[in-house]
Amino acid sequence: MTDKKPKNIFVQGAIAASFIGESIYKHQTQKNIGAHSIFLGQVRSDVIDNKTVTAIEYTSYEAMALEKMHEIRESIFSKYSLTCMHVYHSLGTVAAGEICLFVFTSSAHRKAAIDACEETVERIKAELPIWGKELFEGEGYQWKENSLGV
């Protein structure tokens, strides 16, 4: 365990594709990296009882989520040989087609980055106190439910 302060992971609204490109670009100075693994969650325009999801509105118990994410990060770093790891999650409204989750792991050899990315995504979905409200076209909403590991 380190005594580092939990890093903020939350961004207001969608995560821009250009931001992801820039994050990748910034790693080109780290010449010990051989592999990057990236997971992106995108808001789907599901149709539920003839109503179409146009956006998801995310809320979180932020203080607890950042503490928990800090724990996850420490545990992933102790388990895998990573050079770095970045996590961003949206809060507020993210329209269908936009990115709401960005997990980015890097390592010298591919297995560590790939496995760490997948495990981090699973843990984020299972352990971070974040809730998505699926907003329907016109009006109405439904609270999103995560199915684990699918």
Partner: protein
């Protein structure tokens, strides 16, 4: 008399709003009973109770400075 502030999240806010208070509770077991009296709709809902940002699975004592949160199943990502 101890008054505890409770914060709620996700679908539970449709029932309780974001924040409310409950009087005269000493631990999470009595909280749960009182909660479901005050908000009968909660009885059919799945939720965890967090005290000071930790989910509690056993009965836990509360005091006026406790931060109590009601957490329905997570749906981030």
């Amino acid at each position: 008399m101890t008054q505890i502030t409770i914060i709620a999240f996700g679908q539970l806010t449709d029932i309780t709003g974001n924040r409310f208070t409950i009087d005269n509770i000493i631990d999470t077991n009595t909280l749960k009973i009182q909660l479901e009296e005050q908000y009968p709709l909660l009885k059919n809902r799945k939720y965890a109770i967090a005290v000071d940002e930790q989910i509690v699975s056993e009965n836990t004592l509360l005091n006026a400075s406790s931060t109590v949160a009601l957490l329905p199943p997570f749906s981030g990502g």
